[in-house]
Amino acid sequence: MTAAAILEIRDISKSFGAIKALTGVDFTLQRGEIHALCGENGAGKSTLMNIIAGIVKPDEGAIRLEGKNVTITSPSAAQRLGIGLVHQEIALCQDATVAENILMAAVNNRRAPLMNFRRLYADAQKIMDLLAPIPVETPVADLSISNQQLVEIAKALTLECRVLMLDEPTAALTETEARRLFAIVRDLKARGISIIYISHRMAEIFSLCDRVTVFRDGRYVATDSIASVTPNDVVRKMVGREITQLYPQKLSPERRTDRPVLSVENLSYRQGSAGVGFTLRAGEILGIGGLIGAGRSEMVQTVCGLRPKVSGSVELNGEPVSIRTYSDAVRAGLVYLSEDRKASGLFLDLSVASNISALDLRKLTTPLGLLDRRAEAKQATDLVVRHGVRMGGIETQVSTLSGGNQQKVAIARLLSVGPKVVILDEPTRGVDVGAKVEIHRLLRDLAERGVGVIVISSELPELIGLSDRVLVIREGAIVGELGADELTEEAIMLLASGLRQQRSNARQVQNVA
């Protein structure tokens, strides 16, 4: 075993102040394997990656690279050893070219006072070509997110890279883009690069990786060959308890109704595009799938008055409602959870209580225009207790909570207004497995209590596991509708990519008429 190991981590511990991030963990990466590293948020995966990449120094323990003890003191030392880390978030200089980004370290260390752009482009192109034929003279800002991700990888790769660490590389990618990335990762493996792959998505891990190591609460739990475990085993090890069912029970056929909660007709949100229409029925969770950029978010944001609409009408529980601004939508009982909770969802530096109050301040305002703090505290306490947000108190700053708890706060805000319909855009992005299951249960529970639930998700297993019915969007139009019995990844992808056209435009035409 040890003979084939390229990277060995022995008994590494690391504390940040009073918090033990890692306690005596072991980890062995074999030459030429793709090794998944799993664990809930806070399990210590990122800390270990940062230690290997020289960003964080371990308190104790040893790192051995190809059998030799090494101390990695800085990211550039790691790079010299042939170790590259691709961070979860894309951090590129948007205005600089691909080449300047890839070879930033080399440019930085360059002694000569002037740049040699011809040399720079040639060297960068050599690295970029390992991944995809992206011209390196292009400014990064002009690339799609998935190509930017590839530039991030190229930046971590050097020509003599031996170990590559990928931290949730598919978090921002669509299904097709992710598949392209998998092919590239396999290709890197074939070139002899050993890869550590961090992901929350079981499907990815099981299709891509050779072995899987699980961390929990900063401790090593187990390493298994992928062939010898099931996704449920891995999840169980991650959360340390049995999760009998990843997804909640779907709506049973006998409870299915035709009563519409929300009907949208002839909605046009891009100038000149045909109107779309759909109906959300009582008790069901309606999924919306499609590629990123297909117009899923635009469509629901238009329904909610967050974007101007060209035409269209909306009915809630059979009654027509006029929605011109988001405030109109909230008043009518239609609320929206944005897909990016950091950029557009939460007020990170404010407290849990004030985050929850933001949607309906009027309710908490006394006749004198002052905020009723007692009512605010009561509302926040009720909601966080009901949704099991784990935190110090309602005055805790939201930025200190884990991703899953932050998301629960964002959802609690929606529920503070007693909505009739909730529309959630990527409700579990960047959320650990435990919280994910809780959020799914919460959504099913809402649906059962008669609240309309619409979920947009780029993660196909989630879309399939959670929804009773899925609408597929492509280029701003609804191109298909799949019932519970037709839901497969393949069916959704065929529709989303335009390889199959299921639903003729008959219904849309009918709506226009």
Binding site: F347, L371, A377, I394
Partner: protein, 329 residues
């Protein structure tokens, strides 16, 4: 778990930003106390009502401007034009008075004109989409130019102002000048509103995360517009008080004031990124700068050193804050 939450809940509904701030405020008070104690030993003139009154007077009118600036910083804006607007208000009111208007009406028009400057900046920021820095930099220069045009470059002498009007800036309740009373009232009102009023809660939401505020149905452009107007209006109000106090309107008055005011707000905990800050903290920042200035004068330090020392205090305060924040996360 539930009990724990309940225990921390009562009365804390809207003070999340205060809790962080209160540490900062306690620190500022401690530094100021230490300085005061040291100065009491160093100079016999320091611990006298006369000196304290002089210090209070020196920052109370500027303090009114600081209130507006702090709220604007919280919403994520900044206003470099406040010094010019203070002067503009003086000059407009003064010129109208000299044209024969009664000083009270003239002052109201002066304050109104300042509000219009704010509205114009608000328009460029929210409708055209420029940022606060550039917009207010332009306004600073334009408004200063207007002051010079109105006065033809020479100070307006207003010694004919009626005693009733001069009393605002020069009179006192026994030992306490009206100026200080006005300052305390303005600060108390806005400190209370900022913590408790729903309208001002929207200022924090907008400054903390404008996108998220929009996704909560808050009309963030309106919020930014009105806060910009408020800041200029308060500057105009301060200008009128200065006029009453000095009995003159000098077209160059208030140049450089904006830097002192922004420094005070930032020392007091307002963030240039928006989303945090308190009036109380900003006033403490102002007071600290004033105590330092007064101490330097009493210690006979050359005035040439004063700006340099103030700059160092600003840098130290911001560095300490940055260090504390980094430690926390």
């Amino acid at each position: 778990m539930e009990a724990e939450i309940k225990a921390s809940a009562p009365g804390l509904g809207g003070r999340s930003w205060l809790r962080l701030g209160s540490m900062r405020e306690a620190g500022l008070i401690a530094i100021m106390l230490a300085l005061c104690i040291a100065m009491t030993f160093a100079s016999p003139h320091f611990l006298t009502w006369g000196n304290f009154r002089a210090m209070l007077m020196s920052f109370s009118i500027e303090g009114i401007v600081v209130v507006g600036m702090t709220i604007l910083l919280i919403v994520g804006g900044i206003d470099l034009s406040v010094g010019s607007v203070v002067c503009f208000s003086m000059v407009v009111s003064g010129a109208l008075f000299l044209m024969g208007l009664d000083p009270w009406t003239a002052s109201l028009i002066g304050i109104g004109a300042s509000a219009l400057v704010g509205a114009a900046m608000g328009f460029f920021v929210t409708v055209i989409g420029l940022n606060h820095f550039i917009t207010s930099l332009a306004a600073m220069v334009i408004v200063r130019g207007l002051c010079l045009v109105i006065t033809k470059g020479t100070p307006l002498s207003l010694f004919t102002l009626p005693p009733g009007f001069k009393a605002i800036g020069q009179g006192s309740f026994g030992n306490v000048p009206y100026v200080i009373v006005i300052f305390v009232v303005v600060v108390a009102i806005f400190d209370f509103l900022l913590r408790r009023a729903t309208a001002f809660r929207k200022v924090f939401y907008t400054g903390s995360n404008e996108k998220a505020a929009q996704f909560s149905g808050i009309k963030t452009k309106q919020v930014k517009f009105w806060v910009t107007v408020l800041c200029s209006t308060l500057a105009g109000f301060a200008g009128v008080i200065y006029m009453s106090r000095f009995g003159a309107a000098t077209p160059t008055f208030g140049a450089g004031m904006e830097l002192n005011i922004i420094a005070a707000a930032v020392i007091g905990g307002a963030s240039l990124n928006g989303g945090s800050g308190t009036i109380f903290g900003a006033i403490l920042g102002m007071a600290l700068l004033s105590v330092v200035t007064s101490s330097l004068i009493l210690l006979d330090v050359s005035v040439y050193w004063q700006d340099m020392i103030k700059g160092c205090i600003l840098l130290a305060a911001v560095s300490i804050d940055h260090f504390l924040h980094r430690r926390k996360s």
